[in-house]
Symmetry: C2
Subunit: 393 residues, 2 copies
DNA sequence: ATGACTTTCTTCAAGGCTTAGATTATCGTC
DNA sequence: GACGATAATCTAAGCCTTGAAGAAAGTCAT
């Protein structure tokens, strides 16, 4: 009930520092004057705070620009090489590991195919850890400058150090994936649902950028989503919020792989679309198969767009977002061809007294899951809590 | 994107003061020692802050309790007579005005029946303002100690000074109700959707008390809800979040009074239940008619319970609340008789990997709308922003 | 080249805040 | 009645932000 910490003057400084750093991170490149305006802090405070950050090598001066008739401004930016973050996308068919610098430039990546029905958690964990070693080596980066590992996985991820994962469709039932990884690395670890990591990527750098309240829908084999409230991801009481795919949109409808009936995912997930078209496709063939169905203008695809619109109208009624973003590989395919139909269906099913909501496609492509996972680590850094300061700055 | 204000050391104090006041308000009666523990502030800070609040007459000492073998603790509480707040429930059939002290004790109330199809905004506003004058007079309270008026109305309430109200079912289409009231009073005004004010009442004093993440469903003639995130009400980008009643749960289903099809409200709102049972009832007769249907065990009622459960499962999947509360006069009736059925239906339609969610009835009865509206004013007071300090404290 | 003017950034005294620890108040108990 | 215990207040010390003044580093007109 009572939020709002911040008690001593020390906390005040921490908060202001975090605010400044955040501004600096998202602005990309600014000067002290602009920072002062953006954060509301006095010029003096900005000066001392940036001095601290410069001394820690967390930010760097990156040039100057003339100001019409005055002392030139010194440009500041977050030091991309202050540290590195690893993002991992554990998908239904693969494990993708990428190493980013703080400017989110990919420095190295690794990919491991998962063969169907072989989602042994131990194996996945081994791939993942191997991938981490590999990207750190490939990027030729000192280990102690890796700030942490973010991992996006299918299913619901419980909090806690074990990071229990419940992903029926993936064959994982209460798998302590965090604990499994913990055995192989001592780096800070952040495990979350893959739809949410993608959502954070779109929120930070993609189509949901700067949105205060948004919904980012993820459509791959299954369907998930990220709810953005007040500019950050809402996770709910048990970190399970956003199970958009299991909204019931057809009473007593098609059985879903979750065990329920009439779920949205049973209609608009790639697996379901293909299944409904009467095709039997291997997991690895889903992508080309769906592409073909869309190209051929299958009525199943159109129906999926209509149903997705209904599903979106539900989210719109409930959450009143300022924007809806559709992402995930299947979402981008479906949306690429049928966005207008989705929009029309959503609008038709939304009350007229509701302000119209833009529905757009994700901008970061299918790789956003790994990038978003990496941002979980960056988020921690920007929070400004001590720790996570590498030995040699 | 960047939240977290709090910049100067002055803001720090304001924040701490607000935190303390909030704690004091919800604890009801505490001592300085306990406050220190609860807020994390040092004993010294609590001492000076409470001294300020006492000097302003915002809190009072209310007795002592012995502490086993030591100086007795001085009990502190918010001064119930520091100021008064007015809460108004504008419903489909009535305008109810109540005046509360800060302990939320009703000091006076007024009631005006609205005759069907006569929801002229001007008339409603006149009733409301008359009611305010009436309760202030009845309670024999000085006008300058009335801190503000909170109003709960049907439909969507846009922010802004005009408080535009969109309530199709009420016959209001973009009615600037706030502006209308503003012409008749200079008191601070807070207009919000009635389902949300009820939700806030249940959150502060009822079944959702202390919940961080909860959903409070309101069922009257229509259906609405309040989403509680991080201990406070989530309103969405355009303050329209929570239109639970217009989730589509039956594709291509029954026409709803909103103009859509298959909305939840078209099945579980009191008006719809009665209609589906084949009865024609006047608005004023809805209550006894629904009571009779429930008593007679009408199959329509059972079906409504099942559908409500499905609707709730959608909210649960999307928001992962720790608790669901059912309120509103029809909700309390329906829930009183069919709660088990609602719970069973919700559980049956929720993924097994989801933690089970308690579904309970509201505890404050049908009057919660007005009380919740009044809390909007109190909320402002607790926020600790200057202003709203009556002349004579 | 020079001086006036601009704009950016830094320095520093002043004022405010919380804290920790010492002090005072007020009980029960031996 | 002294002593211990618990509650509340007082005080010195240490941070922090601000605002104003000053330093830095340019442009521009003459």
């Amino acid at each position: 009930m009572s939020r709002s910490e911040r008690k001593t003057v020390r906390d005040l400084r921490r908060g202001n520092r975090a605010m400044l750093l955040r501004e600096l991170y998202f602005a990309g490149e600014t000067n002290r004057h602009a920072l002062s305006a953006a954060t509301g802090l006095s010029a003096g405070s900005v000066s001392t705070l940036t001095a601290d950050l410069l001394a820690e090598n967390m930010i760097v001066e990156s040039g100057q620009v003339d100001s019409d008739g005055g002392r030139p401004r010194v440009l500041l930016r977050v030091n991309p090489d202050y540290g590195y973050v690893v993002g991992v996308d554990v998908g239904e068919t693969h494990v993708r590991v990428e190493l980013f610098d703080l400017a989110m430039t990919v420095r190295a990546s690794a990919y491991y195919a998962l063969h169907t029905a072989r989602h042994d958690p131990e194996l996945v964990a081994r791939h993942l850890l191997m991938g981490v070693d590999s990207v750190v080596a490939d990027a030729a980066v000192p280990y102690d400058k890796v700030l942490g590992i973010g991992v996006g996985v299918p299913g619901i991820v419980e909090g806690g150090p074990d990071a229990l994962v419940h992903a029926t469709t993936f064959g994982w039932d209460s798998v302590p994936f965090g604990a499994l990884l913990r055995r192989g690395t001592s780096l800070p670890l952040f495990v979350d649902n893959g739809a949410k990591t993608m959502g954070q990527a779109e929120l930070w750098f993609g189509s949901a950028r700067d949105a205060g309240d948004a919904v980012v829908v993820f459509i791959g084999s299954g369907v998930g989503c990220t709810l953005v409230t007040d500019g950050s991801i809402y996770r709910g009481a048990g970190r399970a919020a956003g199970e958009f795919g299991h909204l019931k949109i057809v009473a007593g409808g098609r059985p879903c792989r979750c065990g329920g009936q009439g779920c949205l995912e049973a209609y608009v997930g790639a697996e379901s679309i293909i299944d409904r078209a009467g095709i039997t496709a291997d997991a690895a063939d889903q992508e080309p198969t769906l592409a073909r169905l869309i190209r051929e203008g299958s009525p199943v695809v159109e129906e999926s767009a209509d149903l997705l619109g209904i599903g979106l109208s539900n989210v719109i009624h409930l959450l009143n977002p300022e924007r809806v973003v559709i992402g995930g590989w299947a979402g981008l395919m479906l949306g690429g061809a049928q966005l207008a139909r989705v929009q029309a269906s959503a609008a038709a099913n939304t009350m007229s007294s509701f302000p119209p909501v833009p529905i757009v496609l994700g901008r970061l492509g299918a790789d956003a899951v790994a990038m978003g996972a990496a941002t979980l680590v960056v988020e921690e850094l920007l929070r400004g809590t001590p720790a996570s300061i590498p030995a040699t700055a």
